[in-house]
């Protein structure tokens, strides 16, 4: 088994297990409280408006927006880690058919692993620093690595079998 395949299969399994562990801890310790907080903030915003307390209403609505911002990103990171890990394992099984030299295949496999780990991580970190440009840039770089690696893989599948 070549190094690129090992990297994809082992990296994929490890990333899937990590993504699932992250989802489990989130479901156990954070999700229910977050959902309560999100719903509570929105309800409080409307209730304060009913009491004609517009300042409190606006503050509660902002709280709702921020909580939802975090919740969406936590779920996205969890699902993207596992989804990308599954793609890595699938590609690991058939990576011999990517008709590039093993060196290039290792580079593509490493890009896929690095992008798959980095992209969701940058998304999660955005929950700690809302709107931070550096984290948005990291997410873009991570997803760009994944897309470039997949495009290279597709190209490698399409190439005639001239190289190992």
């Amino acid at each position: 088994m070549t190094g690129s395949r090992k990297l994809l299969m082992f990296g994929g399994m490890a990333l899937a297990a990590f993504g699932m562990l992250y989802g489990l801890q989130y479901a156990l310790f954070v999700e229910h409280q977050t959902l309560d907080h999100m719903g509570g903030s929105l309800a409080q915003s409307f209730a304060a408006a009913a009491g004609r307390n517009l300042g409190q209403s606006q503050a509660a609505l902002e709280q709702y927006g921020e909580t939802k911002y975090d919740y969406v990103r936590q779920l996205d990171a969890h699902s993207h880690w596992i989804g990308l890990a599954m793609l890595m394992i699938v590609l690991g099984v058939i990576f011999e058919r990517v008709n590039f030299s093993e060196g290039i295949r290792q580079l593509v496999a490493f890009s896929l692993l690095a992008g798959s780990a980095l992209f969701p991580l940058a998304v999660i970190l955005q929950t700690y620093h809302h709107g931070a440009l550096i984290l948005k840039a990291l997410a873009v770089i991570g997803s760009g690595l994944v897309i470039a690696a997949l495009a290279a893989t597709a190209w490698g599948f399409a190439r005639p079998r001239t190289t190992a």
């Binding site: 088994m1 309800a43 408006a49 009913a50 969406v72 793609l87 394992i89 599948f157």
Partner: protein
């Protein structure tokens, strides 16, 4: 007159890789069954629950705006309690659908890597059974969260259904970690756990069904990635800003007693939620179907059907994989027509999947009969 038994195709040489009740067979059957069940549940949910639920959410928000206009804070809290209930109803069903399919994908993936897991045959079989059990219990637990609630639970926020779902999730993680450990053992020792198998790899067949599934799958995944990048880059943040802006305008209108404007904002809120939902659903479904197509390309040697029928199931599956996400995206423009066509796309994928499952069942049945015949004929 005795029935004429049709011979198993050339891939019968792979029989040892698909032995009766082996881990690989459990993962393939269980995985395809989980995916088909998850897709069917998603289709039923989309037709009978999703849109009705969205309409009730809109009604609840209108009721909340009326309560704000009359200054009735108690009524507001009552409405939001009802709204939370509606959101939980919808959310747990979406999660059950997603997690059942996800567990099915993982089962198919584990089927592929079994030859490289350096554990005993019995351990691998036991792990496969645990994984399939976890894959079934996980979505069942999630589905029940809305109905069981906190009844009889000693915890403040987690009910028994959540405990079931979380335990099943932990079981899946445990199996995956042990598999990773088995793979690590293989990498260190370079020794297959079942060296008597003729070839750990799946056959390198080059036929239309396999090529179409592999190429089509890769294209679908790539399209999904590009759509996701476009959505994240151009719409995600705008949608998030719009949501709080619409809610603010809704509250302001209700406070001012302007109920017509409040109703318009509720409609805007519903349209925005719809736009977000269709983009996310199109993105996730096209990638999932791409992965599914790639995974199914590996199990084609085990599909004991004529070439003609294999091609039909492949075309049906790939056709549905394109139709569903495309028409989900068009739902905001074409309404019910697009919804109906998208549901038909989902049904096409399910039928294609079940057709292949039938082929695999025929293959394994033929294999078992041949083994029994050989055993009976032996001196």
């Amino acid at each position: 007159m005795p029935a004429i038994r049709r011979p198993i195709p050339d891939s019968a040489s792979l029989a040892p890789n698909f032995a009766a009740m082996s881990a690989r067979r459990l993962y393939i059957f269980g995985g395809i069954a989980l995916i088909a069940a998850g897709l069917l549940f998603g289709d039923i949910f989309a037709v009978f629950i999703l849109h009705q639920n969205a309409a009730r959410q809109g009604e609840a928000l209108i009721a909340a705006s009326r309560a704000v206009a009359t200054g009735n804070a108690a009524a507001v809290n009552e409405v939001f309690s009802h709204l939370g209930n509606l959101l939980e109803d919808r959310g747990t069903k979406v999660d059950a659908h997603v997690h059942m399919i996800g567990a099915g994908y993982l089962a198919l993936l584990l089927a592929l890597v079994q030859p490289y897991i350096a554990l005993s045959r019995q351990t691998k079989k036991c792990l496969a059974a645990l994984f399939i059990a976890g894959g079934v219990l996980f979505p069942v637990g999630i589905f029940l969260i809305h109905y069981v609630g906190l009844t009889g639970s000693p915890f403040t926020a987690i009910g028994w259904a959540s405990v079931l779902a979380d335990s099943a999730g932990a079981l899946l993680i445990f199996v995956l970690i042990v598999q990773a450990w088995g793979f690590w053992k293989y990498l260190r020792s370079r020794q297959l756990s079942e060296p008597e198998l003729p070839d750990p790899e799946l056959p390198d067949e080059d036929n239309m069904p396999r090529r179409a599934l592999l190429t089509g799958g890769a294209i679908l995944v790539l399209l999904g990635f590009l759509h996701g990048a476009y959505y994240a880059g151009t719409l995600l943040y705008e949608h998030e800003r719009m949501e709080t802006a619409i809610l603010q305008r809704l509250i302001d209108a209700a406070t001012a007693g302007n109920l017509d404007v409040a109703t318009t904002e509720v409609n805007n809120f519903g349209n925005l939620a719809g736009a977000r939902a269709v983009n996310i659903a199109a993105h996730s479904h096209i990638i999932e179907f791409g992965l599914l197509a790639m995974l199914l390309s590996f199990v084609q040697p085990f599909v004991f059907l004529s070439e003609k029928w294999k091609r039909r199931w492949v075309k049906l599956l790939l056709g549905g994989s394109v139709i569903l996400p495309v028409f989900v995206l068009l739902e905001m423009k074409l309404g019910l027509l697009a919804e109906g066509i998208a549901d038909i796309g989902g049904l096409m994928v399910i039928i294609g999947l079940v057709g292949m499952l039938v082929g695999i069942l025929r293959y394994s049945g033929g294999l078992d009969v041949a083994e029994n015949d050989a055993a009976e004929g032996a001196p």
